[in-house]
Assembly symmetry: C2
Homo-oligomer: 274 residues x 2
């Protein structure tokens, strides 16, 4: 892959990279299409990265469908699909990781210790293998995008990071490979994440400024849905991810909620009236 | 620098990189000459990296002589000297580091917590900025070389790591920028590191196999010299740096010794008779 990457660059092409864990959905398709607009070569990677899963998480059951993934990638105009295997990327004696001291201490980082260490490590590795000019990540995984922007700047990777808007089902549920885990009734309940964020956005746009009040309203909406358990609901600074008490500028509302055993995340920018 | 690096690569050149903290000596010259043999472009960096110094170490007093460094680099055939400034490499809000879980838990890592985290972080950054095909490091800093080899493999940097032999003064003292700190009498005492290593190597070549006995002999030799304080003397596996009790294969003997306030390190391979 490194030799191919060198050759593509020597031939004067630009490369846009979309790293994924496979089981592609419309959200990924939108990332590939964005990549298609950004460069004249698009490389997709599919790798279920073990180092970003906790010991009690769904590494072994993470959904896979390589044939469907390849078809979707081809249809979206991907030039090359990179599918490394686990022992090549993490051979015996592997011991190097990329960490951050601040951003992972918020939101999902608190309930998923080591998760962002794993994410940063695999993305650093893939950047060094694929050697892209830019890389596209979804805003649905907002903290991941923030962590990777910071990592890319801090470690001087010569890669432009592009965030692409969340793609939603018709009822508003954010697309996610993990939606597959939901039963029919859970699928119905799962729309509560989007609805509570959308309601909070409405209130903020109408002039509500107290984060606590919006979080309280959202909490009630989530708790009213069947089979839900809130991991966190936060209103925070979109760069530092630190809590914001008063909405006097655009802020991020982010949440993680379990629907049954399935942990879903979603987020939205809240903007006060001008 | 990244644009220059891209241009050099597009022009079909290969790049050998020598990262240093400046105050160059004959040891560095040998690294530059090795780089000259490895590639058709040689890039030297000079940067006293704050993140590899502990709070009570010599960051502020680390010796500097930029004019002499430039002259030596030119004479050694360096094509480009990269001298970034501290605020560019570590701006406000900097928070990303490269770590290892095993190798830093040995030798110098034990008395310099965070040192190798800082070394790996700056080298990862410089690799991303300079984009070399290979990089040359001295074997005098053996653990650093081992850590960086491992980091380069683990993070898939497409960079060949080359270790260059230690260069010594005529009496055997390993060249180091920190030798400048030594008074005349300390300079005389400092040869005890080389002498004790050399004596241990002789014993091993004659069939001595007990690490403990060799360490005891070396310890006595160091303690007999004036104004010395041993940080560690170890015989270990050259790859994992784990202690080796019986010398039944080539092993590394490594030590750190304070001569007055100056901490010096040295090492040698010990090889049992065939």
């Amino acid at each position: 892959m490194q030799q191919r990457a060198d050759q593509i660059r020597r031939d004067g092409h630009t490369v846009a990279f979309v790293p994924t864990m496979g089981y592609l959905h419309e959200g990924h398709v939108s990332l590939m299409k964005e990549a298609r607009r950004q460069a004249d070569r698009v490389i997709l990677s599919i790798f279920v990265n073990p180092t970003q899963f906790g010991p009690n998480e769904d590494l072994d059951s993470y959904p896979r469908d390589p044939a469907r993934d390849m078809a979707l990638a081809e249809k979206a105009g991907v030039d090359l699909v990179f599918t490394p295997d686990r022992n090549t990327l993490y051979p015996g004696g592997y011991e190097t990781y990329v960490i951050q001291t601040q951003l992972p201490e918020h939101l999902c980082g608190l309930s998923r210790p080591g998760h962002f260490r794993g994410v940063m490590t695999i993305v650093a590795k893939l950047f060094n293998i694929v050697k892209p000019h830019c890389a596209v990540f979804g805003q649905k995984d907002y903290q991941q995008l923030a962590v990777l922007r910071r990592m890319t700047a801090d470690l001087n990777f010569d890669v432009r990071i592009i965030g692409a808007p969340t793609v939603r089902e018709t009822d508003g549920l954010a697309m996610s490979s993990r939606n597959k885990y939901l039963s029919e009734s859970q699928r119905t309940a799962a729309v509560c994440l989007f609805r509570s964020l959308d309601a909070a956005r409405d209130l903020a746009e109408k002039g509500a400024t107290e984060s606590a009040a919006l979080i309280k309203t959202a909490t009630a909406a989530i708790e009213a849905a069947a089979d839900t358990q809130i991991d966190y609901i936060t209103i925070c600074d979109p760069d530092t991810l630190e809590d914001v008490a008063v909405i006097d500028r655009p802020v991020l509302m982010a949440m993680a909620v379990r629907i049954g055993q399935t942990r879903l995340i979603d987020n939205m920018m809240l903007t006060p009236p001008a």
